[in-house]
Amino acid sequence: MRTLQVYDPRGVVEASPLASAPRAKSLKGLRLGILDNTKWNANKLLRGLRDRLAKKHGFEAVNYYRKESFSLSAAPELIDEIAANNDIVMTAIAD
C-alpha cells in the first residue's frame, strides 16, 4: 500500500512522573506551611483559613510564606525551605 508521511507537531515532554505525598490522617501536632501566591485576596483567604484551622487542630507550628510574583513559580530555594520545615502545605489563588 502506498502511504503518505504525516507529522506530530507537539514535541517530546521530558518529564518523569512524581508520586503525591501520602495524605495526613490527622492534622494535630503537624507543622502547617502556607504559601501566599500574592494575588489580590490570597492573604485574606489564607489568613482566615489559618486562624480557623489552627483553632481546630492545634498545629505545632504555622509558617507563612509568600511567592515573589503570583505569575511565577515559587523559587526553588523557597520550595526547599517549605519542604524542610513543614508537614503539610496549603495554598490558594484568590483573585
Binding site: 503518505l4 507529522y7 511565577l72
Partner: protein
C-alpha cells in the same frame, strides 16, 4: 483537543505513515493540532527546506515551551512553521521569536496560562522585513500579507502544540483576543521620520531584530485636528489613561504605534523618540481614587504596582513605571491620522528584543538616536 492528547508524551519520531488518499487537512484537524484554521500539510520536502533554512540540525533543541514544557527541536519548529504556511526564508525570524518568547524574563508560562487576554505581539525591525516581504504599511495589523500572517501563526501553533496552551486546558484566558491567531507586524522604517526602534535600543540599522511583548489588542487613537506634537500625544495619553487596561492595574510595559501622518507632524517640530516617550509618560495616568471606586470597596493597596506610587485619592498613578517602559514604533500606511496604544499584560512579563542572528547590540561608544548621541 482532549486533555490526554495534550499531556501524552508523543513518540520520539515525529513522522509516521498514513494510507495514500487520506484527507490530510482533516487528519490534522482530527488530532487537534490546528489553531482552528486549516493547516498546510507538511511534506518531507517542505520540512527539509525549512530545516535547511534554519541551518539543519533537526534534533537541536531550540527551547522548552511552557506550560506543557514540550521540547521544541528544530524539526518540530520546522513542522509547525510549514503547517502555518510560512516560506523557508521566514524560518530564522520564527526561530528567533521562539527563543525570545522562551527567555525567562518573558514568563511565557504565565502569559500562556493567565486569565487575562494577552497574546505575544511580535514586531520585526531591520533589513529582514524587506527581504521576506513583510507589510509595515497600510493595514499593518490586519490581513493580506503572507509573512506577517504566517509568522505570527507559526508562533501560535507552537504555543498550542508544543506549549500545550489549549483554551480551557492550559490556556485559561477568559476572553482571548483576535491576535491569538496571529499578531505580527514590521516597523515602517523606510517612511518613518524617527530612528528605528532597534537603533534606539543600541542595535545598528543593518541588524535585523525581533521584539516581543505580551499584549492586549491595539486601541485606535483618532486625531484629525492637531498640528503639533502635544495635541496628537494628548490623544494617545487619553487612550492610555483608562482605569481598566492591564497596565493601569499591573504596571509593566506597553507599546505605542504612531501612524505615519502623526509621526510626520510630531517629527516636523523636532521631537525625538525620547521626547515622545517622556511626554506620553508624564501626561498619562489615572487618579488613584478612580482606580478603585473612590473608596467604595475599602482601602486598596494593590501590590502589583511599584511601592513608590503614592496611594492617595488624588495622586497620579502612572500607566507604566517609566518612559522606558513605553515601546514606541512607527507603522502603517501613508494616509490617515491614526495611531494605536497597545497595553501590555503587566509587571509579570518583561518584553524581549533579540537580533535574528542572536548577536548582541553594538557595545561601547555613545548611543546615537535620530542624529543625537548620548554620552
Amino acid at each position: 483537543m482532549a486533555q490526554d492528547a495534550v499531556l501524552k508524551v508523543p513518540p520520539e519520531a515525529a513522522a509516521s505513515q498514513v494510507p495514500e488518499g487520506t484527507d490530510l487537512i482533516e487528519w490534522y484537524y482530527e488530532r487537534g493540532y490546528s489553531d482552528g484554521l486549516p493547516l498546510v500539510p507538511p511534506t518531507p520536502e517542505k520540512v527539509k527546506a525549512m530545516l535547511t533554512a534554519l541551518g539543519g540540525e533537526p534534533a537541536r533543541r531550540v527551547a522548552r515551551v511552557p506550560p506543557r514544557w514540550g521540547s521544541l527541536t528544530r524539526e518540530v519548529l520546522a513542522i509547525n512553521t510549514v503547517m502555518a504556511g510560512c516560506r523557508p526564508e521566514y524560518a530564522p525570524v520564527v526561530e528567533a521569536a521562539m527563543l525570545a518568547l522562551c527567555a525567562p524574563p518573558f514568563n511565557l508560562n504565565g502569559v500562556q496560562a493567565t486569565t487575562h487576554m494577552a497574546s505575544p505581539l511580535l514586531v520585526v525591525n531591520g533589513p529582514v522585513r524587506r527581504e521576506i516581504g513583510m507589510n509595515a504599511g497600510h493595514n499593518v495589523f490586519g490581513s493580506g500579507n503572507r509573512a506577517n500572517a504566517t509568522i505570527g501563526r507559526a508562533l501560535r501553533l507552537m504555543l498550542l502544540n508544543v506549549g500545550g496552551g489549549w483554551p480551557g486546558l492550559l490556556d485559561k484566558s477568559t476572553l482571548g483576543h483576535p491576535g491569538k491567531y496571529t499578531y505580527c507586524i514590521a516597523e515602517n522604517e523606510e517612511s518613518s521620520p524617527l530612528a528605528p526602534y532597534h537603533v534606539e535600543k543600541g542595535y545598528k540599522p543593518e541588524d535585523s531584530t525581533i521584539f516581543v511583548l505580551a499584549a492586549e489588542p491595539p486601541h485606535s487613537v483618532t486625531n484629525h485636528f492637531a498640528n503639533d506634537p502635544e495635541g496628537i500625544l494628548d490623544s494617545i495619553c487619553s487612550a492610555m489613561s483608562t482605569i481598566c487596561n492591564n497596565n493601569a492595574v499591573s504596571a509593566g510595559h506597553c507599546a505605542v504605534v504612531l501612524g505615519m501622518e502623526h509621526a510626520a507632524t510630531i517629527a516636523k517640530h523636532g521631537w525625538k523618540r525620547h521626547d515622545i516617550r517622556h511626554y506620553l509618560w508624564a501626561h498619562s495616568g489615572n487618579r488613584w481614587g478612580d482606580l478603585y471606586g473612590n473608596g467604595r470597596y475599602g482601602k486598596v493597596y494593590n501590590r502589583n504596582l511599584p511601592v513608590w506610587y503614592k496611594r492617595e485619592p488624588d495622586a497620579r498613578t502612572p500607566i507604566v513605571p517609566s518612559a522606558d517602559n513605553i515601546h514606541l514604533f512607527v507603522a502603517g500606511g501613508e494616509a490617515g491620522r491614526f495611531s494605536a496604544f497597545i497595553p501590555g499584560w503587566g509587571h509579570m512579563s518583561t518584553p524581549v528584543l533579540r537580533a535574528v542572528s542572536g548577536a548582541a547590540p553594538s557595545a561601547g561608544g555613545p548611543q546615537c538616536v535620530d542624529g543625537t548621541c548620548y554620552l
